[in-house]
């Protein structure tokens, strides 16, 4: 039986994947294949390449020291305190910004990915690994499993609107979050028999103050709808709940790693039972 690990997206919350993998390996559960979307692709790729969680922790520390991964929402208005001119200017900035294809460039992403993956390619990984992205032209999910790891994982972290889409031949690739934030179906197609899916889940409700908040919340609701369908196809579901740990603050991995480890540790007995049952 081939055991697969499908790691979901969720920005900085993805540090939890390190804890999850540590708990699984400690329990002696063999991971035969791994895939992931967005941060899931980064952590999954790191595990597939290095195999050693301590080494990955060191690399992540290097990344947080060398790269500023925090981005700021340029649309955050503080209209009350602004004069007419300031407001007019910020609107003009937004207008100009909307003509670009993203808020940020891939500069920091590339720097971070190069620290973790260097010049290695998919062929160098210890276990089969694939990164999941989305092609905006065809509207379909794309599985990347060949070439340089840095180049393969980059499209998977290109959150639409925040980072520029990655052009590859006839494809315009963005983060797989569009349709497959937890790429269970995609891992099944890679030949996994038993899939452990890891969901990074926010517990607190998202308040809304304006129309943009509303449509963004609804977009998240659609994403959850699609995730629910994907999770239903998995064989075991690990849900990591986060409180007050946002997706965009990358500077403090420890809490997320710990959360991932604890939650998974608790679920190990149930997972072992399920594995036993499936083996027969």
């Amino acid at each position: 039986m081939k055991i697969g690990l499908s790691l979901g997206g969720g920005g900085a919350r993805g540090y939890a994947h390190i804890g999850v993998i540590r708990a699984l390996t400690e329990a002696g559960i063999p991971i035969d294949t791994v895939n992931g979307t967005s941060i899931g692709a980064v952590m999954g790729g790191a595990y597939a390449l290095h195999g050693d969680m301590d080494k990955i922790t060191v690399l992540i520390k290097q990344v947080t020291q060398a790269v500023n991964l925090n981005y700021f929402n340029i649309f955050r208005h503080k209209l009350e305190s602004q004069t007419f001119l300031r407001r007019w200017l910020s609107e003009a900035v937004c207008d100009i910004a909307s003509l670009r294809n993203s808020v940020q460039s891939h500069r920091h992403n590339l720097k971070a990915l190069r620290i973790i993956f260097g010049e290695h390619s998919f062929a160098d990984t210890k276990i089969p690994f694939s990164a999941v992205a989305h092609d905006l032209i065809t509207g379909k999910t794309v599985v990347i499993k060949r070439g340089k790891l840095v180049e393969g994982i980059l499209p998977s972290v290109a959150i639409p609107g925040i980072f520029p889409p990655v052009q590859r031949g006839n494809r315009l690739l963005v983060d797989g979050v569009v349709l497959a934030n937890i790429p269970v179906t995609e891992l099944r197609e890679e030949g996994a028999d038993f899939i452990i899916a890891v969901e990074l889940h926010a517990t607190e409700p998202t308040p809304y103050k304006n129309g943009l908040d509303i449509i963004n919340n609804l977009e998240a609701m659609k994403q959850h709808r699609l995730e629910k369908w994907a999770l239903a196809e998995s064989d075991f579901h690990i849900r990591i709940d986060f409180k007050n740990y946002t997706t965009e603050h990358f500077e403090n991995p420890a809490i997320a790693v710990e959360t991932g480890y604890k939650v998974t540790k608790k679920q190990i007995p149930a997972l072992l039972r399920r594995l036993e049952r499936n083996a027969h």
Partner: protein, 297 residues
């Protein structure tokens, strides 16, 4: 022929929902009995009127007049739709783009919605005045989203006017509607058709689908990218949910209309009527296969 009474599922983005007038006419002409209607968006207005036992055709002129007399106020649609300004046409191509463009970049950043209820309210109250859901001759449910619970909420009781408002409260365009301590908006932004709550009890279910043409084929700017992402998701959700429906009628001819094409309402209704009739005759022909496999990207 569909002999047993069916559950009808109606939807459609923006103004396109009005084409349900033609769909209901076609079903009536084939003497198909309806035991329940699920509606979302503007199709709720049509379905509600029909469920009251009235002829929805009577609504056509009302809608046409409404848009004609309010075009300036309504979303500056005249300019935005690009019906006269071809270079801005793409804005009405996709509802998601229109919304984002309006909400991100203009003085709307702080507001809950671009429009208020002032313009639309009189029309709804004129048509439905004091009617209650319990007065309807055919039971009906209007699909909305509860903003706090982030879940689908079906309105099946209370005043029809409240239900109608919530049904067409496209988020960002209209403010959310309060209904029994819930804050509701239209569910069309997630899925054009109200399929989420359909169960086996509703069988046989007939859904009338307007196929989606994804806009911004090669997105270049930020808003186009976000708009396309939104559309791809809605499309995937709809296609997945359509699988649990017994009969799907896909009206490909509706492709030429956009969510804001209010000038083409009469044509829209005619096309919907003709194609529904045609597809119903196909259902009769392929009765054995039950489902018409017409749902493709």
């Amino acid at each position: 022929m569909l002999t047993e009474p069916i559950t009808l599922v109606l939807g459609g983005m923006g103004v396109k929902g009005v084409a349900s007038i033609g769909i209901l006419e076609a079903l009536d002409s084939q003497k198909i009995k309806i035991k329940k209607i699920y509606a979302a968006g503007a199709s709720a207005l049509v379905a509600g009127y029909y469920a009251m036992g009235k002829n929805p055709e009577e609504l056509t002129d009302r809608f046409v007049n409404f848009f004609d007399s309010n075009d300036k106020l309504l979303w500056g649609l005249e300019q935005m739709s690009g019906l006269f300004q071809l270079q801005r046409r793409r804005i009405t191509d996709s509802f998601a783009y229109f919304l984002q463009q309006r909400l991100y970049c203009r003085a709307n950043a702080k507001r809950l919605s671009i429009l208020t209820w002032d313009i639309v309210k009189p029309l709804i109250y004129e048509v439905f005045s004091n009617t209650d859901f319990s007065d309807l001759k055919i039971p009906m449910a209007i699909s909305t989203i509860d903003l706090d619970a982030e879940k689908i909420f079906m309105i099946e009781s209370g005043k029809l006017t409240d239900g109608m408002k919530a049904g067409i409260a496209f988020p960002g365009l209209f403010p959310p509607v309060s209904h029994k301590s819930h804050k509701l908006v239209s569910s069309t932004i997630c899925c054009e058709l109200p399929l989420e709550t359909i169960t086996r009890i509703d069988s046989p279910v007939l859904a009338v689908d307007f196929p989606v043409i994804l806009s911004h084929e090669r997105p270049t700017d930020m808003l186009e990218i976000i708009a396309r992402t939104t559309e791809i998701r809605s499309h995937a959700i709809k296609n997945r949910l359509l699988k649990k429906v017994d009969y799907v009628i896909t009206l490909e001819r509706m492709n030429r209309f956009r969510w804001g094409s209010y000038r083409q309402i009469p044509l829209m209704i005619r096309y919907a009527r003709e194609q529904t009739k045609h597809k119903l005759s196909l259902i009769t022909k392929f009765q054995l296969t039950r489902r018409i496999p017409a749902v493709t990207l």
